[in-house]
């Protein structure tokens, strides 16, 4: 039943000129549709780098990323941008809503980028998402006028508006207190379960990692272990 949606093949990333330092040393990873994966490891082990490469944001020095049969880095910049918009959802550590827009408008932005105007089905969907993340009452607030936890939940709603196949979250709870963090995680898990959306979440929180389907641990740019959480501890 497991269907592979993402393949990372021999991913190498080097930074720096003229003396390059290698951050990823050749990573192979397959991710199944509907999986909720936790990416863990020490600070500087390459988690964010890997996530950005998987997220079509950063070209690897070598290797391939194939998502649903598309070899990402054979695409041009504009095609990559369109791919990110249509297929991927992003949740960042620094929630990153646009302060010039309301919460509701922020949720719609990924849709508006390519459509300009939101028709009623999308508006309805955005409202449902806000309801789901518990922000219906914050709908028309300025994005910077709500709490950090609320902003991150709004960011979750924004990541989902285009119904992405894969959501990438880099320490989504890293800047939140434990209650808000728990809230956001529960929300992601729920969406993963209900919509069968694939999630890759970078986290430092081993308790949260233990509640995912699969834990991949990086060390110094290599996969140290790749297990299901029951086996750990």
């Amino acid at each position: 039943m497991a269907e592979i949606m993402l393949q990372g093949q021999g991913l190498i990333k080097e930074y720096g000129q003229p003396i390059p330092s290698r951050v990823l040393h050749g990573i192979d990873i397959d991710i199944n549709t509907g999986e909720f994966l936790a990416l863990v490891g020490r600070s500087g082990s390459g988690k964010s780098t890997l996530l950005n490469i998987i997220g079509a944001l950063d070209r690897p020095t070598a290797g391939k990323v194939i998502i649903d049969g598309t070899d990402l880095y054979s695409l041009g910049e504009d095609e990559l941008a369109y791919f990110r918009n249509q297929t991927l959802g992003f949740i960042f550590q620094f929630h990153f809503l646009l302060p010039q827009f309301t919460v509701f408008e922020n949720v719609l932005i990924p849709y508006l980028i390519y459509h300009g105007r939101a028709g009623s089905p999308v508006v309805k969907q955005a409202e449902e998402l806000l309801e789901r993340v518990g922000l219906a009452h914050r709908r028309d607030n300025r994005a910077n006028a709500i709490s950090g936890g609320e902003q991150q939940r709004a960011a979750v709603a924004r990541a989902l508006i285009n119904q992405p196949r894969l959501v990438l979250a880099d320490e989504p709870t890293g800047n939140l207190d434990s209650k808000s963090g728990e809230n956001v995680f529960a929300l992601m898990r729920e969406i993963n379960r209900d919509l069968h959306t694939t999630f890759i979440m970078v986290t430092h929180d081993s308790l949260l990692a233990n509640r995912t389907d699969r834990i991949v641990e990086l060390r110094d740019g290599l996969v140290l272990c790749d297990q299901s959480p029951v086996i750990i501890e």
Binding site: F96, G116, R158
Partner: protein, 404 residues
């Protein structure tokens, strides 16, 4: 292209967010545009005034018979004709009735006046003065010179044997309406004529030399039956005169067709160089406006790095971001140009209202000038936005995502 709506929204939100900055740069553009509009109105007004003074009450085109060599009156080495247009020949135009009728069919011509000129000497007691005898029908002369409105003594009538003299000449010969004097025409018997009225055409030369008499009477005195020496024409648009003169010169072989531009070339050169210096000033104003917009947008772009990073991460294209900044430039330019036009108009109105006494300031706001100033400002604004737009749009979203 559907994304354009969002780009427009983004641009206006960015501008609204930095309201003070936006208002300041709008003011800057407005002042620049206001200066340009006002300066244009001032220069155009002055020039229109000058041109009106030069050609308002004089012929724009004069048609004469072409002659191999200029005929000059040996008694008058300077020639007889004191108005700006030099007359080279005074050979009579024979078929003038037909010619006048043809000319009157040209819709661009507002006045077509056949004139018979001749040299004469006026004697009053011991005083005498050589004059240019101008034979015209009064109602025709009025079409160009408005003689009837410019009679300062006597009456605007040209009864047989009556003439109208210029104010300077009247003073020189001590003439009053009703006086009789002697007129001598070379090679003819002296005749006695009556001063019917004194005119002031506002040009010293004309007031000193001109004597207006009924055309048929002049023909009789000169022994030229039913002839004229030239046809004077005014046109609708004075700047078309040169072109029209050229066209008609081709259609009328054997005639000399001369426009006011040819005879006032130095005036036109002066006006042109005045315009050029005004354009230079305006160019620098525009440059200042462009630099202002460019630097404000560059600052704006840096301030919006975060937002642009996020938007790129969630899939906006580089070109879209570029457009967001170009739209900002266009919005600033359009808003500033509109406000600046109003400012310029207001400034013009103030100048007319409170301009110093005795110094009549004439302002001329041409719609075409307004359109050019506005278009240039908007183009400059878009151009000003280009550099910051390109730079910021090419940023790598990774930088923002990594560093928060």
């Amino acid at each position: 292209m559907r994304g354009f709506r969002f780009e427009l929204q983004l641009a206006s939100r960015f501008l609204l967010e930095n309201r003070n900055q936006t208002i300041l740069i709008l003011l800057g553009i407005a002042v620049g545009v206001g200066v340009m509009v006002f300066l244009s109105a001032l220069i155009d007004g002055l020039q229109a005034d000058l041109i009106k003074k030069t050609v308002g009450n004089s012929p724009h085109i004069i048609i004469t018979r072409e002659v191999a060599e200029p005929l000059r009156n040996p008694a008058e080495p300077d020639g007889f004709f004191p108005i700006q247009i030099q007359r080279r020949g005074s050979r009579p135009v024979v078929e003038w009735i037909e010619l006048t009728n043809t000319l009157k069919e040209e819709p661009q011509f507002t006045a077509v006046v056949p004139v018979l000129d001749g040299p004469a000497l006026l004697r009053s007691g011991s005083a005498s003065g050589s004059v240019a005898l101008r034979g015209m029908k009064l109602e025709e002369a009025d079409k160009i010179y408005q003689v009837s409105d410019k009679i300062i003594a006597g009456s605007p009538e040209l009864a047989p044997g009556t003439l109208l003299v210029g104010s300077e000449l009247a003073e020189q010969l001590d003439l009053q309406p009703g006086n009789t004097l002697t007129m001598e025409i070379p090679g003819k018997q002296p005749v006695s004529v009556l001063v019917g009225g004194i005119f002031d055409l506002g040009v010293q030369n004309l007031n000193k030399r001109w004597v207006i008499m009924e055309r048929n009477r002049v023909a009789y005195l000169l022994g030229l039956q039913d002839r004229v020496t030239e046809i004077e024409i005014q046109v609708k648009d004075v700047f078309q005169a040169e072109e029209l003169a050229r066209t008609w010169a081709n259609r009328l072989p054997g005639y000399q067709v001369e426009s006011w531009q040819e005879t006032n070339a130095s005036l036109l050169t002066a006006l042109r160089s005045q315009s050029n210096s005004s354009y230079t000033i305006q160019l620098f104003v525009l440059l200042a406006v462009t630099l202002g917009i460019s630097s404000v947008l560059a600052i704006n772009a840096v301030q919006k790095t975060r937002e642009i990073g996020i938007l790129k991460a969630i899939g906006i294209r580089t070109r879209s971001i570029e457009r967001v900044f170009i739209i900002q430039g266009a919005l600033l330019g359009t808003g500033g140009a509109l406000a600046g036009t109003l400012l310029g108009l207001g400034l013009a109105r103030l100048f007319i209202l409170f301009g110093s006494e005795g110094y009549q300031l004439s302002l001329l706001l041409k719609p075409a000038t307004l359109a050019i100033v506005m278009t240039l400002t908007i183009l400059a604004s878009v151009f000003a936005a280009f550099l910051p737009a390109r730079r910021v749009a090419r940023m790598n979203p990774i930088e923002v995502i990594r560093n928060g």
